[in-house]
Amino acid sequence: MSRLSVAFEADEIARYLPHRYPFLLLDRVVDVEPGERAVAIKNISGSDPVFAGHFPDRKIYPGVLLVECVAQAAAIVYGTEAERQATSNGGSGDPATRVGYLAEIRQAKFLRPVTPGDQLVIEVLSGQRLGPMISVTGSITVGAERVLTVRLAVTTRTPEQDVKE
């Protein structure tokens, strides 16, 4: 598939994801191949409210939120694909409504702690699909260091599901 020539700034990411503050985690999408892969960036700031409690004297960005970053980048991969399909079918549709559920977290490895000042480069690669489920491989690096590797199963929502619900 062809690559999108334009990356997404934060405001545009909000068009593809239903998440909002404080849970819209991605800052920028630097590369997307709809339905195939995406690369996103998140800057970790000491002013992030999560650090008030995790932990008061030792700021570590929660590993579960790193996994969520990968899930949100996966949603960008499928949101852009859904939008492209809707456009080619003559419709428009809101891509954020196509975001489904996180179905499984496999083999998550947290290779080193993430702290304020780190810039996360989040890469997701789409894999096998079966029914509404898609296997996703994700990794996050800070500089040259890998901080997370994980495999997820995510689901997408179809327009038919909206009718049923």
């Binding site: 179905a103 096998q128 079966l130 029914g131 489920m133 296997s135 199963a153």
Partner: protein
Amino acid sequence: MDVTETRARVERRQSLNRQVKELLVDRLDLAVDPKFISDDQPMFGRGLELDSIDTLEIAVAVQEEFDVMLTDDDTESLLSVNRLCDHVEAQVEADE
């Protein structure tokens, strides 16, 4: 097909079934010895008690191990080890 050929074929199939059972136990972290999974035991519900999320992992595992794709049209191949091996065998033969 003579007896030797038939025997070789049966052995190949038994070996494939063993390999698939070991793959299932390994990839799905099943708390069961592969030797105790029977060839026609249902994989879902009672039986191996797999769930719908496991089907995706089986598809990933089969693709990596045998370079065989499972698609939405092949879900009947997930009913038992034998059905899954039928699918793998058919696809591998089709590729040869």
